[in-house]
């Protein structure tokens, strides 16, 4: 207890040094917590946007289509039929299912053209899953017939207004060029920039007729009660599909969100990098402080050894000092980190302010990134800061404590 008290009193010998070392740890922890919050927020918003606006909880498609799905081929499509829909809906956990037909082409305003992905949707069922109508900025959802909606950035780029006619140029399955002229009935503004900038939605029947793909769809989007059920239902559906010896397969949102999940893993790596930076910052600060302290106190160390203190007891004094510095630094790091995360959580960061509105880096988030709360990270980093401080102090403390007492006493 006396040695602990001495260690605590030693913190006040060089207050500025103690404060600076603690501040270094505070800074490291602050950076980690803010970074972690951004990663959590980015992951949650990205996944939610991706799930709610693009993939839904699971999709059913032909296995061969799955292989080439990113190129939106017109081969290996599935039949839109009541039997499949009824089969899907017979599953209690499946709330809704809707077909979609994807193809690529260019949109033309009479002067210039821009590459897009067009999506044929059945508005009445699609809206129950993706809810595009919630994001209509102007106008309304496409009706049966030659109608379409697209995102605001694309509309601005091409100079389209609601009521204008847009022309889509594309190749049919047979390789012949065809066009669709459709009235723009609405302009979208979703939180997903990929939809806003590159996708045009039209009635499924219009797309099927124009592509000469009667009753065909690229896939079925399926909505469940919650995303946690996706894996088990996917497995059940696949079992059924295999029993029917067809090429249909179900793919859950995790399979469909590989890019987002890769981004999450990237975030985990970034957190590890942050942890490494904190280790280096804290260790350098603490090692520096302990070496300086030991050098300044050589005579005292010699005196303590003369009084009969053992090496481990002298190390203990220095380690407790470091633990206190680590605790102070970690405490304020967590406090400031908490303030930072509070602002990120409630106010967020404008992506356009960060990027100048030029790019979204492929992240399916528009406008603002909000931080996420991760209480485990706070708890972890608090103790991590202390542990790193303690570990970093052991070697320099040992170096000081093992000094020859005669040389230590007479070192001047």
């Amino acid at each position: 207890m006396f040695l602990t008290k001495l260690a605590i009193k030693n913190l006040f010998r060089h207050k500025k040094r103690t404060i600076v070392t603690a501040l270094v740890i505070t800074l490291g922890i602050f950076i980690f917590l803010v970074s972690d919050s951004l990663m959590v927020g980015l992951r949650d918003i990205s996944l939610n946007n991706h799930l709610n606006l693009q993939t839904s909880h699971l999709q059913v498609m032909n296995t061969n289509y799955w292989e080439e799905k990113d190129e939106f081929p017109l081969d290996n499509l599935i039949n839109v039929n009541e039997e499949l829909e009824n089969n899907l809906k017979s599953n209690e956990e499946i709330l809704k299912a809707t077909p979609r037909l994807y193809f690529t082409g260019t949109v033309n305003n009479g002067q210039e053209e821009f590459p897009i992905t067009a999506v044929g949707i059945r508005p009445e069922t699609d809206n129950e899953i993706i809810n595009l109508s919630d994001y209509i900025l102007k106008g309304e959802m496409p009706k049966e017939g030659n109608s379409a909606i697209l995102g605001k950035p694309l509309a601005d780029l091409m100079g389209f207004e609601v009521g204008d006619y847009i022309t889509l140029l594309f190749k049919t399955k047979e390789g012949t060029f065809n066009t669709i002229d459709a009235e723009l009935t609405g302009i979208l503004d979703t939180p997903n920039p990929q939809i806003n900038e590159y996708q045009i939605f039209m009635p499924l029947s219009l797309v099927q007729n124009s592509l000469q793909l009667d009753n065909k769809a690229s896939k079925y989007l399926v909505k469940l009660d919650n995303r946690e059920q996706a894996l088990s239902i996917t497995n059940n559906l696949n079992q059924e599909f295999e029993n029917h010896e067809g090429n249909l397969r179900a793919y859950n949102w995790e399979k469909l969100s590989q890019e987002i999940l890769a981004m999450v893993r990237q975030g985990d790596i970034e957190n590890l990098v942050m942890l490494f930076i904190i280790i280096v910052l804290a260790a350098v600060g603490v090692i520096n402080t302990i070496i300086l302290s030991a050098l300044e106190r050589l005579e005292e160390i010699g005196m303590m050894k003369a009084l009969g203190l053992k090496v481990r007891e002298i190390i203990y004094i220095f380690v407790i000092e470091s633990a206190c510095i680590g605790t102070i630094g970690s405490f304020f790091g967590v406090i400031f980190g908490g303030v930072g995360v509070y602002f990120l959580y409630n106010i967020g960061i404008s992506i356009s302010a960060m990027t100048g509105g030029e790019t979204t880096f492929g992240i399916p988030i528009a406008e603002r990134i909000y931080g996420g709360w991760n209480p485990e990270a706070f708890l972890f980093i608090f103790f991590f800061g202390i542990i790193v401080s303690v570990l970093a102090s052991i070697l320099p403390a040992r170096w000081g404590a093992k000094k020859d007492p005669v040389k230590a006493i007479h070192h001047k």
């Binding site: 003369a306 009084l307 009969g308």
Partner: protein
Amino acid sequence: MALLKLEDVKKVYHQGKIDVPAIRGITLEIEEGEFTTIFGPSGSGKTTLLNIIGCLDKPSAGEIYYNSSKRLSELTKNELADFRRYNLGFIFQGHNLIPVLTAFENVEFAIRIIDKHTQKERKQKVLDILESVGLGGLEDRRPNELSGGQKQRVAIARALVKNPKLVLADEPTANLDSETSEEVLDIMLKMNQKLGTTFIFSTHDPQVMKYAKRLIEIRDGQVTRDERGEDIDVPH
């Protein structure tokens, strides 16, 4: 009975490829309760001898017996630390007080690490010893609030508070003026007489030697004079 017995103790320092002998074979006995001064010119080996007696340094050859039986060369580093902790007191030339502790705490340090006193006993012992060295009422002062003489008294109190058998003092008055030196030596002598503590201190100050009841002269690492008595002829 001899408290301490040195048998042909030698100490050689190695400076690169050169061997520098500091102690060249010293044999002597220190009786319990003696007030001994080791004197000699600078570099004669006084401090080295004190360090070896205090188990801070190991002899290159020879043997040291404590209480006639304990062979100090057989002790491990931890055992030596324990030996110092329970049996020895040190007074250094530069008092070596801990600046963040008060006079009371600096003295208390020496018995806190022994763990054989209750808090109440400890407090009383510290206050008594501070009173004995003339620092009553100054126990809450930190070293930077004390004069040089007062700091050295705190160091004496720290050395004596655990009632060690042997106190080693390396030029304890070197940084003090003559008046303060005499005060400090008076205290040490008083403690020697009151508690029966054995004192060995090194000096080259004739004024200090006057206090000695035994005078050992060292030159070139060898004992050249060893006298006991009240009226020893002190060199000038």
